[in-house]
Amino acid sequence: MEAESAAGGAPSTRRWRHALEDRRVLAPLLIAPAVIFIVLVVGLPFGWAIYLSLTDAIGGSLSGNWVGFDNFTNAWSDDNFQKALRNTLIFTFASQIIVVIGAAILSAFLVRDFRGRWIVRFLIVLPWAAPVVLSTITWLWILDSLYSVLNWTLDRLHLDNALVWLFDVTRFEEGAQVPLQWLGRPNLALAAITLVHAWRILPFAVVIFIAGRASIPNEVEDASKIDGATGLKKLWYVDLPLQLPIALVAVLFGIVFTAGDFAVVYILTAGGPFNSTQVLPTWAFQIGINSGSLGEGAAISLYLFPLLVVVTVAMLFFARRAQVS
């Protein structure tokens, strides 16, 4: 017994200790909690959604009769679904264009040393830090049909009619009235939602862009100065190419966040006016949860899957490239 103790405990304990020192055991053991967690909270619901989409399950049940791809074909033939799909793409890509341009400009500004830089940085990051529901409700009030602070400001500055003239709103949205009902006309509502999405994602992109700029070696900066690259030239030929991999990561994250977002559209318009601003998540919710057609709702939500798979694969690819460079 004493000899065994001196050798480090009972044989079974020793076997465990040795096993834990083996990478083939230790690595899976350490990663197992994360894998189990993801399987439980993502994998199972996802598998269940695929199953439901192939059945005629209705609200109040978690199973149904097998209907093959009927839910997918039925959804595809619906005008509102097609609008929702189109809007999902519009909101996602239009907002990302604004985000990329905005983040490039803001990050160039924010890396400079100036008084109050931290306050400005804090204010810019704030929309990202605030809960999306809360910030969207704030936007709902900003764009409210009656108490819109935006319209109030435009009115006090005598800019409301000027805005209509400047942007030719009446052509942009035939019949639109002043004060502008931002959420009462399809095109205005689409524009408003796109801007809110951009406002929400912008801080995240700015932070990524700033990090990207910080990673540009000083030697490159110096070399570009010696070569006479300044201002826009430097931005176009030096900063942007070097930032591209990490910028793409920001964009791809932004696409995932926006395409899968439910709260902004649901709170601002509930898909209105006349279902013209529905996106796939809100339409899936209306059909699957509120109307009780669970199978059809699951099918609608799964239409997002191919888009998000492509984006995610690209995201992982660029993230890896950014890391390597």
Binding site: D56, G60, S61, Y147, G175, Q177, A270, F274, I289
Partner: protein, 471 residues
């Protein structure tokens, strides 16, 4: 209003804990005095009645945040507490925004766990397979109070399954609320929809547009279906078959769409396409609108706002008459369901029966918002209700009297002349009605095409739910 303590009337004189102790003591005394003869002992003090003590545990109820907030305070802190004490049940009531009821209900079903009683703001037809039929409860209440109102029955009874899938707790009539002075100034009447069409421009001209929503929210659904009834544009017939695109229904629907388009173009602004369920209340209370269709929450809020001019100038009326009829939807049809997975089904069942048998305080405390599905729940029925409403002291005195007329004569269920069912539910939940009306109003489509598209879509929905055995 009667005092809170008087408001809960237990129907079977339940024992309190102290009563029980007293009686047990008396019984022990009697046994010791007269020997082990319980019948003698009990005969001395009367039989022990444990009818209401058979319930136990916890009763969890999910309901909405009422538009009359004081009602919730009374319900939670007085009514439910007293009912719980009388039945030896701990009652816990949760309130959520009405827009979240369906999604929360779905989540509970998915989890097969949650509340024992779940309240919906409109009949939850698609949940029929997850709830206990309540035919026996309906029968029991009907036996004591007389027949259930037609609006309640057609909202909760499925003629195909022959089951009541929900227990109607309340309904709210949907009156027109209007600014008397604005209408007088513009010389406008609200007696018929034609009057509204003609008067809309005048009201807008004086700076107070008409407020009839065409947005993705429930008030718009209710209003627009009502407008269709008035013009004879029924979505389904008495057998619950879709008939929207046929004969007189099609003609009526097209007329209704044209009328709403004209009212919008002449008398409203784009705001009606952007409204939430609270927006017409806000716009009316801000002094902007000349008229709106809503439950009495607008006028009650006006009375509580401290703005006496607004409160006194807000009058109530029946829905305008159309060429075919004067008829509107209820504004709210409060329906309780008992989930199959409810843990305390017995307490849930008793709670529902007791509440209905003693509905008067609910009507009073909700400030006449909650009408009883069994008119006999208030002794004397509509006659008493009319008298009670007439006694409301707010100016102009008697303005609430018309509510009774609306409830009695001009209120029906969504889906009239058929039943409220899963088809109507999906039509409402996917905003097909505001979509159709708004597209026509904004000139995106013409009325005939809009009716055709609606009819096609409604028939698809009908086929889907028929295959499920729910219509």
């Amino acid at each position: 209003m009667s005092e809170a303590s008087d408001e809960f009337e237990a129907h079977n004189s339940p024992l309190t804990r102290s009563d029980l102790v007293k009686r047990a003591g008396a019984a022990a005394f009697a046994v010791s005095m007269f020997g082990a003869l319980p019948e003698k002992a009990l005969g001395f003090y009367g039989p022990l009645r444990f009818k209401n003590k058979q319930l136990s545990g916890e009763l969890r109820i999910m309901t909405w945040a009422h538009f009359v907030p004081a009602y919730d305070v009374w319900l939670d802190q007085t009514y439910a507490k007293q009912w719980g004490e009388a039945n030896d049940v701990e009652v816990k009531i949760d309130h959520i925004n009405n827009a979240l009821l369906f999604s929360t209900g779905s989540a509970e079903v998915a989890a097969q766990s949650g509340h024992d009683l779940f309240w919906f703001i409109s009949p939850p037809s698609s949940f029929q397979k997850q709830v206990l039929p309540v035919n026996d409860l309906v029968q029991e209440v009907t036996k004591k109070l007389g027949p259930m109102s037609k609006v309640a029955k057609k909202s909760t009874y499925n003629p195909r399954t022959k089951k009541f899938f929900g227990f109607p707790e309340t309904y709210a009539p949907d009156p027109v609320q209007y600014r008397k002075s604005y209408l007088q100034e513009a010389g406008v009447s609200l007696n018929t929809w034609e009057d509204v069409r003609k008067g809309a421009a005048k009201l807008k001209q004086i700076g107070h547009p008409v407020g009839l929503g065409m947005s993705n929210e429930i008030d718009s659904n209710m209003l627009l279906t009502s407008l269709l009834y008035c013009y004879g544009g029924f979505i389904q017939n008495e057998e619950n078959r879709i008939v929207f695109g046929q004969g007189s229904n099609r003609k009526g629907a097209i007329e209704a769409l044209e009328v709403m388009r004209d009212i919008y173009r002449n008398g409203m602004t784009d705001e009606v396409f952007a409204w939430t369920a609270a927006s017409n209340n806000q716009a009316f209370l801000a002094g902007r609108l000349s008229m709106a269709l809503n439950a009495i929450s607008i006028v009650r809020s006006a009375e509580k706002s401290g703005n006496q001019v607004l409160a006194d100038d807000t009058w109530l009326a029946s829905i305008p008459r159309g060429p075919v009829m004067r008829l509107g939807n209820e504004h709210v049809m409060g329906v309780y369901v008992i989930w199959k997975f409810a843990k305390n089904k017995e307490a849930a069942r008793k709670y529902l029966i007791d509440q209905q048998l003693n509905y008067r305080p609910h009507f009073v405390r909700s400030e006449y918002y909650n009408f009883p599905p069994w008119t006999g729940a208030i002794k004397g029925g509509f006659e008493t209700i009319r008298k009670m409403a007439a006694q409301d002291t707010h100016k102009p005195k008697g303005k609430y009297t018309v509510l009774t007329t609306i409830a009695e004569k001009f209120t029906t269920n969504p889906g009239h002349p058929g039943h409220t069912n899963a088809v109507i539910d999906e039509i409402f939940q996917t905003w097909m009605l505001p979509q159709m009306f708004a597209q026509v109003a904004q000139g995106k489509t013409d009325p005939a095409d809009a009716v055709k598209a609606f009819d096609t879509k409604a028939k698809q929905i009908y086929r889907k739910w028929k295959a499920q055995g729910l219509v």
